[in-house]
Symmetry: C2
Subunit: 200 residues, 2 copies
């Protein structure tokens, strides 16, 4: 009995050590990601930064992509879905929140490197699709609730509306690099609301 108890404590200690080294690897990967984009993340560099051995890393993550996928989970691109009872207010809150994050969050600097890699790498395309699905989810919720309330026509395609909201934000952040300011946010939401009205 006494011996078993001792073994259990060792297991717990071992487990804690494993968790600590996994956390160190993920933290180092995430930090590298935000500093250099995806291109700068190699397992060798993660070894150097985390102090965790390469064999240990490969024991937990079978490939660089698997490690990247886990580290990207830290990027937290999903904003919460507001529920004010008005489509316009919900969208203004949501779009303002995304605009704010695009300006300040670390993933906003990292995402282009994931998009780029996804052009040529199927596993990374999968990671990118998941991140995008997360970001899009609250928009779907807000739009579907508005359709249930009868405020927005059921035949309006939510994916078109989401493109009309996220598209201009992404465009300003990564392509034209113009300010994501209040008048712009108001205009983006206003265009969607106007067009929903003129379709009604």
């Amino acid at each position: 009995m006494k011996k078993n108890a001792k073994v259990k404590i060792d297991d717990a200690e071992l487990d804690e050590r494993v968790q600590r080294s996994k956390a160190a690897v993920l933290a180092a990967t995430y930090k590298l990601l935000t500093e250099t984009g995806l291109g700068g993340v190699s397992v060798d560099e993660v070894v150097k930064r985390s102090g965790v051995a390469k064999t240990t890393i490969y024991r937990h993550w079978p490939s660089r992509s698997a490690l990247l996928l886990d580290a990207c989970a830290n990027l937290r691109t999903q904003p919460p879905a507001p529920d004010t009872g008005s489509l316009k207010q919900d969208l203004e809150m949501l779009v303002t929140m995304v605009a704010e994050r695009l300006k300040t969050a670390k993933w906003s600097t990292v995402l282009p490197s994931i998009i780029d890699a996804a052009e040529r790498d199927l596993e990374l395309a999968e990671i990118q699709a998941r991140l995008h699905e997360q970001m899009r989810f609250p928009f779907r919720e807000v739009i579907e609730r508005s359709q249930e309330r009868g405020e927005l026509q059921r035949r309006a395609d939510p994916s078109h509306i989401i493109a009309a909201l996220l598209g201009p934000l992404f465009y300003r952040r990564w392509f034209s690099r113009e300010p994501l300011d209040k008048p712009f946010v108001k205009d983006v939401v206003g265009r969607v609301i106007d067009s929903a009205k003129s379709a009604a």
Copy 2:
């Protein structure tokens, strides 16, 4: 006199040789760009592919960025500006053209790598801004002509309208990877026209 004439021919020959090797370097750089994105383009790799010596390359282009800038000029992102006399028709033509190019043109695979590099490299941010300005130019022209005709209000901000047109296209091509089909193009233009009307 005779001697001078001989020298002139030699100059012409030399010049032709220079032009040929410059063209070979640009072609190799462009091919690499489209195959690997910006990340795969190193001067060493260009030497290997073009057969032109590194010293020769650096004689014509002082840096990798300068070479990239020249090679990117080949990406030809600028669509011609239609002039049908109707904003809706002009925009439908223009947006259809950009959607087609996003689906088929090589630069559409390369652009994310330029966007990514621009996040961390000022010289490449400059290249990206120029490419973007090219692409945006015909939109400005079409919108300004419509404002001159009084079809579109002068206080409408062209940069907001361009974001409402290019944003959703870019979003589908690089972020959601949904189809850039006819109904989508129609919807994108329709939203801009609807909102211009309800603002009038």
